[in-house]
Symmetry: C3
Subunit: 324 residues, 3 copies
């Protein structure tokens, strides 16, 4: 693995998941793999789980992590080619990236979308610029359109829980995995649902259903292969795993249309499922996206899911280190 930006960078999802599970059993199995190497964690946006879990994963491999809050500790970067930099941006990625490439062995970057310009966001300019100019492996800590470390954790957590949920609700002996839109008070990126859809489709070992209100269709490049419906109840029927997540509109970009509280996942709706495990990437707005009763029930695996972030990150960093 050279970079880790999307599922396309992964040759074998199940092998990568197996590696992560092995690290969970033995965190220090490769404790010298990264000895004498440095990993930069660059944040253009806030982060809790991703930041801490990647930091811990790096240390488990003997890497020296250095965290840098680009926006707070540094300054605004310019990404436009040929820009006359007489505005607010202080440094061009063309100048910053190669130097970071010399200081570090691996560079991890978090850079949210603006949600103002779909073409710009979906061009993944930030990640692509760093790949182009840094000259070292780039790992996404969530980009404008995807969150691959989260999705790897999600698949890993589903696989971990599979033995506990037979008989499976999906067809052909597969688990039924449902991604359901949920209300929220702010317009959120499409990264997590895009990425989850892309990974579940690439994984291919689930019956995959996406449900959302009218106007919330996601980009087909990620969802193609999934069953998509606006009937949440039908979608939830016999589900083994329900992934709850809000996102803003994709077509008329970055907006909140319907925000109907009926879409919040409650205990009542849980009854439609095959006693489904409930997933969420966190942070979650309690009693807006998901009710307390569901989050605090035995069905919720959100803590397990978030705790697995360490092992997903560790597997990815190890793959990159072994490839160097």
């Amino acid at each position: 693995m050279k970079n880790f930006i999307s599922v396309k960078d992964v040759a074998d999802i199940n092998a990568l998941v197996a590696k992560a599970i092995a690290y969970k059993a033995n965190p220090f199995a490769d404790k010298n793999l990264g000895a004498g190497k440095r990993i930069g964690l660059l944040f253009l946006n806030p982060s809790l789980r991703t930041r801490l879990s990647t930091h811990v994963a790096a240390q488990n491999l003997g890497l020296e992590p250095i965290v840098f809050n680009v926006d707070k500790d540094g300054w605004a970067l310019e990404f436009e080619d040929g820009a006359i930099m007489s505005g607010n941006t202080v440094e061009h990625v063309k100048d910053a990236a190669p130097i970071l490439g010399n200081y570090f062995d691996i560079l991890c970057i978090r850079a949210f979308p603006t949600l103002r310009n779909k073409e710009e966001d979906y061009s993944e300019e930030v990640m692509k610029s760093f790949i182009k100019y840094a000259g070292i492996p780039i790992v996404s800590l969530e980009s404008a359109t995807l969150h691959p470390l989260q999705s790897l954790t999600d698949i890993l957590t589903i696989k971990e829980c599979l033995p506990t949920v037979p008989p499976l609700g999906g067809g052909g002996g597969k688990p039924k995995v449902v991604l359901t839109w949920a209300p929220h008070i702010k317009p959120l990126p499409q990264c997590v649902p895009n990425s989850f859809a892309e990974w579940v489709n690439a994984w291919g070992e689930a019956e995959f259903v996406i449900t959302h209100p009218e106007d919330y269709e996601l980009d087909e490049q990620f969802t193609k292969g999934a069953t998509i419906t606006q009937d949440q109840d039908a979608a939830l029927k016999d589900a083994d795993f329900v992934y709850v997540k809000n996102w803003s509109t994709y077509t008329d970009y970055g907006r909140i249309y319907c925000n109907d509280p009926k879409w919040m996942l409650t205990e009542e709706k849980l009854k439609l499922t095959n006693n489904a495990k409930i997933m969420h990437c966190l942070p979650v707005r309690r009693n807006v996206e998901l009710s307390d009763e569901v989050l605090d029930s035995a069905n919720s695996i959100v803590t397990q899911q978030a705790s697995n972030r360490v092992w997903a990150a560790q597997a990815v960093l190890a793959e990159i280190l072994k490839n160097k």
Copy 2:
């Protein structure tokens, strides 16, 4: 020791002080005690000494510290049970704490009071929530009402200085320790005086006097056992140690009533004492709380006191590690 939130978590103050003094003589005596373990330092508020000294202490024990500014690098946490999270808080402590509990082996937290709601502040909701949900040892880096790492340092520093101050001014061969209120321009928490009072009372090896203007009474649960007077001069008489500190009102909560500059500790007032050692937790507003002449005199032990923060933190972390 499981958690370190107040003096009640300490079985034997003198033994803990002795441990800290031993680390001061030999900082790396237990340099592998924390090997392979991680400590999270979470800041909901700014910090200099507490942050740096705890970081250094952790490293001295071989722990890997990870610092996280919850407010700046992350987002606002919700602590109210059952909250409908459609406001400014982004994540509930119920969701965040268990995950931090999985990422770390020990979790240290700084969370100041709001000074707006006495019941809320004095319920110590933040610390109690983390203890309840994180599932790992919690260390206070200053909470809404207490600052136990500071108080341990304070007792340690007094004990270190005892041999240099005979004959003692207190009765029964004990040192006379005076906590005096001082003016300040802002309403400050009661944490440091509450905690100091609680520790000196629990320690029991001093004649302890608290002096402050009318209206500045502290919560009796901490001060009980001390002599309390509004006559600063009488309090200072024959004092061996004078702890200078501002605090806002407790009864009519979080306010500034009297702010009489006559309460500032000066060289003139020092003459009333038994050539007392002068203490302050820092940061100190020079020439507002304490005059330059006192702070720059040989009587001031504020640097020694602040430097001892490392050894106090190291003793506490070591106790917790040995108990795990």
Copy 3:
């Protein structure tokens, strides 16, 4: 070496450069030199290259670095002697510095000028206060008037490139080194040009020319020994190295007078030179200070220059450690 504040702290520039070049060839040659020692990196202002390169350099020597953003993680410091601290400053350097001196073995500080008061800035109060009160070696990460780690990198980079640029354009077999003012949208400190001038003059192995518009004269204490001209074209003629940098006015302090875009370095102007190597300390405002065509050409050595920051910092820290 005790402190590293200016070139005056350096006994032998060429020896220090040789040391840095040796570390570049073998980064871990002294990987245990700093074992059990701690270095504090204090930032009163933002930083990217200086922060990261010094962090990496410290780790290469086995030092444990702790980063502290004084302004964001802490609070405003007071530097005035005798101040009545009833304003915005929370802690006096007299109180903070000795404690940092006890927590750390080396203290690195970045503190920009205000550009409001020349006398204050040029008194280097911040650095001098820390030297006076911390009691441990102080390393400037850029001060009010100088940026010595940058200048050491600059000399190192010039020396590295020398073998590739004969025949030399300067007299007496020396390279011709030109420092040219460039336009910018904001009033910038004089630190980099001051420091570069001071170092090139002290080094003495170049024909050194400074060119800038009227009103942009630098402080003579740093420039003395250089040829100074307002004719940029004449200055650039036969140059082997061109250092491009904006600065605000020194005499009428901290202002922007002329901001003529004609002073931007372009490919056209490059033709006047001896196929000169182009230098800049970064961050650079593209197409304001320097054109894309120059920055993206083979003449630009800005990435090499910035990457060398690690080795310059490592040489300085090693010198200080060996002296302890």
